[in-house]
């Protein structure tokens, strides 16, 4: 269990330092940092801090007994959500450092999670497109919206204009594409999160097949675009046709996923 915050929140808390019983404890000062870090796994060990806030809790001195420090970060700007991907991790931590002379500092970290909510987008066009393989298959598909919140339902339909191949079935996949790095060092990972059968059997011209896919059972995150030039997470709807020889025909469309601000 980790605490959950969203951007612009005040992060208030206390730090408790307790020296070993009856011993004097000397330090070079106590501070707490709020860090937003992006960790790229292929570049292990290198964190990139996109947010770094510090509060000095104590000046150098000595401690004889337990001491509590109150701290507060007000209206913290935390533009990015916590994310735990395949090649990248975005995390927020509170890091307490007790500086010492000659020996290493005492460092203690606490993770917390940030989730940012967005209101319903004012513009949310449908995705509508006619695609085809010449003289084989012509379809028109329509997804009701281009932007979906995490508990949304994808409603749509596929209309068959021409069917010359022997279709066995049709699926709708939800794919997540995580790309990290930049330039020649770009790493892309694609995961299929959902395989949802839409149609069984071969349709004929003029058939219209309904789509209704509930997103709630799948573990989606919102779409992340170019987070600090380090990574992106994008979602795609992939419409797949499988013919009787198990050949696959597909058409991929990006959708935007967001975390809906409950009103």
């Amino acid at each position: 269990m980790v605490p959950l915050f969203q951007s612009q929140e005040n992060i208030i808390g206390e730090v408790l330092v307790e020296p070993t019983q009856g011993k004097k404890f000397e330090h070079n000062g106590v501070k707490i940092e709020l860090l937003g870090q992006i960790e790229l796994y292929f570049d292990r060990g290198n964190f990139y801090d996109f947010t770094s806030l510090v509060r000095e809790l104590d000046v150098p001195g000595e401690l004889y007994e337990r001491k509590t420090y109150q701290f507060e970060f007000s209206t913290v700007e935390m533009p990015h959500e916590s994310y735990n991907g395949i090649n990248v991790r975005l995390r927020y931590i509170l890091k307490v450092t007790i500086g010492r002379n000659y020996i290493s500092n005492i460092v203690e970290c606490q993770d917390f999670v940030v989730r940012n909510y967005t209101p319903s987008p004012s513009i949310n066009n449908s995705i509508k497109m006619e695609v085809g393989i010449e003289d084989c298959l012509h379809i028109e598909f329509e997804y009701g919206k281009s932007k979906y919140h995490l508990k949304d339902v994808i409603i749509g339909k596929i209309y068959f204009l021409l069917v010359r191949i022997k279709i066995k079935n049709m699926e709708l996949e939800i794919r997540r594409r995580e790309s990290t790095g930049s330039g020649p060092n770009t790493y892309v990972e694609t995961e299929t999160l959902a395989k949802f059968e839409l149609m069984d059997g071969a349709p004929v011209r003029g058939e219209s097949i309904p789509i209704r896919l509930f997103l709630s059972p799948y573990e989606l995150t919102p779409t992340y675009r170019n987070i600090n030039n380090k990574f992106s997470v994008k979602y795609y709807l992939n419409l797949v046709f499988v013919d009787e020889e198990d050949r696959r025909y597909f058409k991929q469309q990006e959708i935007t996923v967001y975390r809906l601000l409950e009103s």
Partner: protein, 790 residues
Amino acid sequence: MISDGVEDEEKWLTAGIAGLQQNAFYMHRALDSNNLRDALKYSAQMLSELRTSRLSPHKYYELYMRSFDELRKLEMFFKEEARRGCSIIDLYELVQHAGNILPRLYLLCTVGSVYIKSKEAPAKDVLKDLVEMCRGIQHPVRGLFLRSYLSQVSRDKLPDIGSEYEGDADTVIDAVEFVLQNFTEMNKLWVRMQHQGPAREKEKREKERSELRDLVGKNLHVLSQIEGVDLDMYKDTVLPRVLEQVVNCKDELAQHYLMDCIIQVFPDEYHLQTLDVLLSACPQLQPSVDIKTVLSQLMERLSNYAASSAEVLPEFLQVEAFSKLSNAIGKVIEAHVDMPTIGVVTLYSSLLTFTLHVHPDRLDYADQVLGACVKKLSGKGKIEDSKATKQIVALLSAPLEKYNDIVTALKLSNYPRVMEYLDTETNKVMATVIIQSIMKNKTCIETEDKVEALFELVKGLIKDLEGNLQDEIDEDDFKEEQNSFARLIQMLYNEDPEEMFKIICTVRKHILTGGPKRLPFTIPSLIFSCLKLVRQLQGQDENPFGNETSTTPKKIFQLLNQTIEALSSVPAPELSLRLYLQCAEAANDCDLEPVAYEFFTQAYILYEEEISDSKAQVTAIHLIIGTLQRMHVFGVENRDTLTHKATGYSAKLLKKSDQCRAVYACSNLFWVDDQENMKDGERVLLCLKRALRIANAAQQMANAARGNTGSVTLFVEILNKYLYFFEKGNPQITVSTIQGLIELITTEMHSDTATPDPAADAFFASTLRYIQFQKQKGGAVGEKYEPIKV
């Protein structure tokens, strides 16, 4: 290969059932422990067995039924869940998380059914959603079964009139829309089935399709069960929509089956009120559709409906059912240029049955039908297809059965024209059927023109039709049919002599064309018909207004004479002779001496010229004697001539015994009881003596040829003749002649050369007993016999 296929299928089915049962087991466990998530998981896995493509519809059905049973349990569970407070809407969403579409939709239908029951949403919305979502299954067999499941679970939840699901938002039209949509989709899937898979398995697929047809037809049945589908809704919505689908699917099997379904499931009065619509669909069907059966079914139903109650008949008139059906049939035949004859005839046969039931009084309708049929048959020549022939016989028999009266059928001018198309054999069969109908109903044909019409129908029996080869005819059959035709002549009767005479002339005209083989059957019947008329006229006084044209016995006798003459072409002298004698007797009763004499003359000529067989001669001579004996019209001269001839013929018979018997029979010609001027005892005695001489001669001949005198039978017979005339008071027959004859017989019997003949002995003994008996009687008779000693 094939058996392997079947075995494999068996294996797959077994595997499918095993998988199903296993998952059902886990599902039950989940249900028992109220574990919704597991219940959904295992039920979806269980239903995944239905995703197979390896089973034939037949085997798939088995799997489906098992799943169906399991789904009932799941439905119960859903109901429980809903009662326990689980939101049915959530449940409705939850089942849609299943990744595979087929299990997902089965579950959705199951929850949907509970959803409607909960009334948390209008039934129509849920139904609409379900029927829409089912589009996801485009595989024909799986789709048909899924939609069949939907239809099954929703049947009792339609927002029908009076149903608990009817409400402000839900009306019967929603129920109808739902069923219609499901029907349309199912039919599309069903039709599509034939295009899937390799061409070489087409036949097998057609068979499989046939097995599945009831799944589609069930929807029409559901529609017919919806209370709220009244005539208006049927007319405005249901029928046009169903027909649209039927016509547009362009599939032979489906069109035939569905048309049949429509006709069978919806009420008769709906059909009657929507005839236009229903019939207009017929010409639009595929040419290969067996439209005749469809229309026949329809007409049969309507006929039965009409027959069910007289109250419904006005409805038929109001909608002009006949003309609509008639037009439709015409159009269908036009549209199907190469429709086989059987089809055409079947259609008209059904239409005829229909009009006979619905408009029994409109004979013109029946005639129209026959006329239309003739028109369609024209140019096709004789019908050779035996099935088509059967249908024509059915067509022609229908009016006979309906009216039980050929006279009505005779008014149908097109009736004989239809018969033209029958081959000769069948034509005869039909003619026999007609005659049998007349016989059974004892119908009397009363006018000349009806006779003409009737003969037109049965002309196959009257004369040889073209192309008929004699050698093909079975002798017994021929006799049979001619006998029945002869009987028919007796049914042609009118009390009015004038009309009757006309009938006779007509009959004569026709039968004389029949040729030598038929005349011996037909002429006697006609002769007796004439004689009947003669007897009728004879009883009446001379017609006071009699004129040239009126019918007199004389005229009839002329006709008779000519008619019998026709037999000479056969020839059939024995038959002619009998007929002449019959006529002579009738002439006698009419006091027409010359006529009677003429008939006798003809008979004698025949005897002399044509009858040469000795047995036939014997028979003929006895007939002549018998008839002549009864004639009282002749004057002395004529009578003498005729009797003289008869005796002459008798004495010239070949066998002595025949001669003897004929001669003693001739004795009767001279002694007629009730005619004083016809009692010539002397000539009687002469005949008897002559008979005795012949009997003697016979014995001598026998003695000479075989060494024994043979039997005394002839003597005993002559003795009996003596006794007869003795009793009648012939003065020439005296006690002594009788006495002498008795002694003669006794002597003969005891002579050495006599052959013992127990029959003759017994005959003689009983003759003597008779004499004894008469003696003892006393009175005048006893006195007469007294002197005879035995």
